[in-house]
């Protein structure tokens, strides 16, 4: 436009200089007029254009301003978003809330360029606040100081109102004026609120020394940041909750499996209080056990964290807080004893006792099992209050329930142990009694080589045996087995022994096996009306001189007989077991069998513990093992044979535990020699005795015992001549004879001298004359019997008293 103006001025000057005429002037004027008009028009247009340009410029300026404003908003938004993204990224990258909070306060502090930035999460774990603070230079504070922020009035204002607190100048603000000791000028505090409007804490900014006006943008930015922080806290709390739930579940499982795995109640409870105390991060955990007899409570087990004083295991400790609880309350919890209204129910002494424990928070959960209250599982939180959460209480109730099971289990085990001890003691006494009962019949020192091996399965046994000399050369053996085992079987055994003794003393039964068993069965049957016990038995009478055995069998395993090296089962025709039938039942009668036995023949009598033994895999061992074992041990000494058999059984059963009592009785027949003396026998008595002495000497009779043996035989023989033969002679029995039989076994000689006389009451006679020192020194007679007792190790008679048995051991 400036270029066009200069061109116009140049034209006007040229026209004025070159034209003088009027026409020219008019022309020029007209031209000028036209030019002026044109110029005016142009100017008008230009003015209009200028106006438009100005309008355009203003509009442009407006647009530019708007754009700038938009750009600023966008920039601010982007900054906020960037900050928020940063925070969100941090939150997502970790579950460690403390770490997240620290980096957040650092980030925010730097961003806002403040002197301090902090976050407070109250009661984050138990009663402890989580506080993290960023501070610059001189404004850094000790953790102990800023940890107390939650106690400040500003904090309470925010947490109560849920609204931000904006203090641009603390000097003038009503909340802070005159209250702040430090040079803190501006505060911005925003609540951290979860999605469910639950307050989780606060975030604050501090500007120190220099006053600062917080902008809307800063406020909104801090509020925006509060969202992710609250989320992080919530996430962390959920994570910790899950973690804690998992760990408590694990602890409960451990507790349960420990209870199942051990019966040691002390170990269970000691570990339980320690682990529960640690899991709940309580200051103390202990178990108050109630003594049911005295209803007193004492601490059975206790755990306390470091520096917390133990109340004292074993100490009497009544649960005072129980008094403030309502009846049938599931648990007693006190969050803060200083604020507990129910304490009015306690007297001063009780409150003082509670204070003494230094506990602020209390939790007591009853330990019950099947409605029995055993005690309380108690927790103390010392010095600080604590809100026991429902989850915690529920967890402790589960644990208390397990503890109840454990205590009940322990009580039951205790009762069982006591019962077992008592039973064991009684069984031992029963066994001793049984042993005493059986002892008299267990003496194998008879005129017959007998060896016994007896292995009871229990303390008290159902197997029994009895050996009795009916006459010097006649030995009766009873072996039996009562059905069942243990005390009941033992009692029946005792009863049988009592009955058996009576039957053995009665010659009408003792000399007749079939009558003996019938009478015994009848007696048991009579007493056994209301039970299902029975017994098997074998009764045999061994006559050494006649070389035979008379026997009857009442459902008992038939003995084995070893003749000339051949082993077989005795065909003794077993009858029904004892106690099933009485004499009135035809079935209850037994048959008597007679078997000839030669010198060296053996008989092995046993109970079913030998023939009904199982191997380890549960299969019964075939009975043939016994025959084979006896065959293999046919040359074993008789006194070793029973144990050899038991040893063999252990081998064939592959050391399987015994299924039953094991009883083996082995007998060996001896070779006997007999001399008969008639009326003239006294004339050759020396000669015959000499032969006996030679026989004994050939079997090892020591020289110094020869005179004693001779004296004994002389005394016994003259007694028979004097009292038996003379009497028979006077009765005109010309065939009357005195019979002397003897047999020599290892380290012993035994003999019987039988006369045809009426016998004598030896039981009464020997009561006063069994000791030579008791004989009157001035008496001319009466030394014969005492001398026999002095010389022989055993002197016996038959019941009639006309047969004497003498045994000398060396």
């Amino acid at each position: 436009m400036a270029e066009n103006e200069s061109k116009t001025k140049s034209f006007e000057t040229n026209n004025l200089n070159a034209v003088d005429s009027s026409t020219e002037i008019a022309k020029l004027k007209k031209q000028l007029e036209q030019e002026r008009f044109s110029t005016e028009k142009r100017e008008k247009i230009m003015a209009q254009s200028l106006q438009e340009s100005k309008q355009m410029s203003a509009h442009l300026q407006q647009i530019t301003q708007e754009l700038a404003k938009e750009r600023k908003v966008a920039l601010e938004k982007s900054e906020t978003e960037r900050l928020l993204w940063k925070l969100i990224e941090r939150i997502n990258s970790s579950f460690d809330l403390e770490h997240i909070l620290q980096s957040t306060v650092d980030e925010l502090g730097n961003y806002f360029k403040v002197d301090r930035c902090g976050i407070i999460i109250p009661s984050y774990k138990s009663s402890r606040d989580l506080v993290r603070e960023y501070a610059t230079g001189e404004w850094k504070r000790k953790q102990e100081t800023y940890s107390q922020v939650s106690l400040s009035a500003l904090y309470r204002t925010v947490t109560e109102t849920f609204k931000p607190l904006i203090i641009n100048d603390t000097i003038t603000h009503s909340l802070t004026a005159g209250h702040l000791s430090e040079d803190l000028r501006s505060i911005l505090m925003v609540p951290l609120v979860q999605y469910n409007d639950e307050l989780v804490g606060v975030v604050y900014l501090h500007q120190c020394r220099n006053q600062r006006n917080w902008t809307e943008h800063e406020l909104s930015l801090l509020q925006a940041a509060a969202g992710p922080i609250a989320t992080a806290v919530e996430k962390s709390k959920l994570f910790n909750k899950a973690k804690s739930w998992a760990s408590r579940e694990k602890l409960l499982n451990r507790l349960t499996s420990r209870i199942r795995g051990t019966l040691n109640i002390n170990v269970i409870l000691e570990r339980t209080v320690a682990e529960l105390g640690q899991a709940l991060q309580a200051s103390r955990c202990f178990i108050n056990i109630i003594d049911h007899k005295t209803t007193r409570e004492r601490i059975s087990h206790e755990y306390a964290v470091n520096k917390t004083e133990l109340i004292g295991t074993g100490k009497e400790n009544p649960l005072i807080i129980n008094k403030i609880a309502e009846k049938d309350e599931e648990c007693i919890s006190i969050a803060d004893i200083y604020k507990e209204p129910r304490l009015v129910k306690l007297n001063n002494k009780e409150i003082e006792q509670l204070y003494k424990t230094n506990a602020r928070a209390f939790l007591a959960v009853p330990i019950t099992f099947q409605r029995n209250l055993y005690g309380w599982l108690c927790f103390h939180q010392c010095h600080v209050p604590r809100n026991w959460t429902n989850e915690e209480i529920s967890f402790i109730q589960s644990a208390a329930s397990q503890v109840g099971v454990a205590i009940n289990q322990a009580e039951m085990v205790g009762q069982l142990t006591e019962y077992q001890t008592k039973l064991s003691r009684e069984l031992k006494q029963a066994a001793q009694l049984q042993s005493v009962l059986l002892n008299a019949g267990a003496d194998t020192n008879k005129n017959l080589p007998i060896a016994v091996s007896y292995h009871p399965h229990h303390n008290v046994s159902g197997d029994f045996y009895w050996i009795s000399e009916l006459a010097p050369h006649v030995v009766a053996i009873l072996i039996g087995d009562v059905s069942g085992k243990g005390p009941a079987a033992s009692l029946l055994t005792g009863y049988i022994i009592g009955e058996m003794k009576g039957l053995l003393e009665n010659q009408a039964t003792s000399w007749h096996p079939e009558k003996f068993l019938t009478a015994l069965s009848d007696s048991i049957c009579e007493q056994n009306q209301h039970s299902d016990f029975y017994a098997t038995a074998w009764y045999g009478i061994f006559n050494l001189i006649e070389g035979k055995v008379l026997c009857s069998n009442a459902g008992h395993p038939s003995p084995c007989i070893i003749k000339d090296g051949n082993v077989s089962r005795l065909n003794d025709d077993p009858g029904v077991p004892l106690g099933l039938f009485s004499v009135n039942d035809a079935l209850g009668n037994y048959v008597v069998k007679e078997f000839k036995l030669n010198p060296s023949d053996r008989m092995v009598i046993f109970t079913d513990g030998l023939t009904e033994q199982r191997e380890l895999d549960g299969k019964f061992i075939p009975e043939s093992w016994l025959i084979e074992a006896l065959r293999a041990h046919k040359n074993s000494p008789i006194n070793e044979l029973p144990e050899e058999i038991i040893r063999k059984l252990n081998m064939v059963s592959k050391a399987a535990p015994a299924d039953d009592d094991r009883l083996v009785v082995a007998i060996e027949m001896l070779e006997t020699k007999t001399i008969e003396f008639d009326e003239d026998g006294q004339n050759y008595i020396n000669e015959k005795i000499k032969a006996i002495l030679e026989d004994a000497a050939s079997h090892g009779l020591p020289k110094n015992l020869e005179a004693s043996l001779k004296l004994g035989l002389v005394e016994a023989l003259y007694n028979s001549f004097r009292h038996g033969l003379k009497k028979a002679g006077s009765d005109n029995d010309s065939n009357a004879k005195v019979t002397l039989s003897w047999w020599v076994k290892e380290s012993a000689i035994s003999c019987t001298i039988k006369d045809p006389g009426p016998g004598f009451n030896w039981q009464t006679t020997i009561q006063n004359k069994s000791k030579i020192k008791d004989v009157d020194i001035l008496s001319e007679g009466g030394r014969g019997l005492p001398l026999l007792f002095e010389i022989f190790s055993k002197v016996t008679w038959n019941p009639k008293g006309n047969e004497i048995g003498l045994t000398m051991n060396w």
């Binding site: 006294q682 020396n686 005179a707 001779k710 004296l711 002389v714 005394e715 003259y718 001549f721 004097r722 030579i772 020192k773 004989v775 020194i777 001035l778 008496s779 001319e780 007679g781 030394r783 014969g784 001398l787 002095e790």
Partner: protein, 105 residues
């Protein structure tokens, strides 16, 4: 049993051999007891006595009783150990003076 009874002034000397058993006891008493008389000492030489039983000891007791009645002293000499053992067992050594076969040798 062998029995020899000799009367030497105030001493009755009885020598016994073999065995003094029930069957010989009566014979011993019949032979010896009537001869005790007024002797102050009755000596039984048991050097050859090989054996004695309770009836034999009974005969000795009877002999001691007879001696005591007349105030005589009974002594059993040269008693062999086996017999001596029985005499001790029956405490007859408390009645009569008993000496062993070795003591008199």
């Amino acid at each position: 049993m062998k029995l020899d009874v000799q009367d030497n002034d105030d001493r009755l000397f009885v020598k016994i051999g073999g065995q003094l058993l029930y069957s010989e006891a009566d014979h011993f008493k019949e032979e010896v007891l009537p001869k005790i008389g007024q002797h102050s000492t009755v000596t039984v030489d048991c050097g050859d006595l090989q054996f004695i039983d309770s009836a034999g000891t009974g005969a000795i007791v009877r002999l001691w009783k007879e001696c005591r009645m007349v105030g005589a002293e009974l002594e059993l000499i040269r008693v062999i150990p086996e017999v001596q053992k029985l005499l001790h067992l029956t405490r007859l050594h408390q009645l009569a003076k008993v000496s062993g076969i070795d003591d008199t040798a």
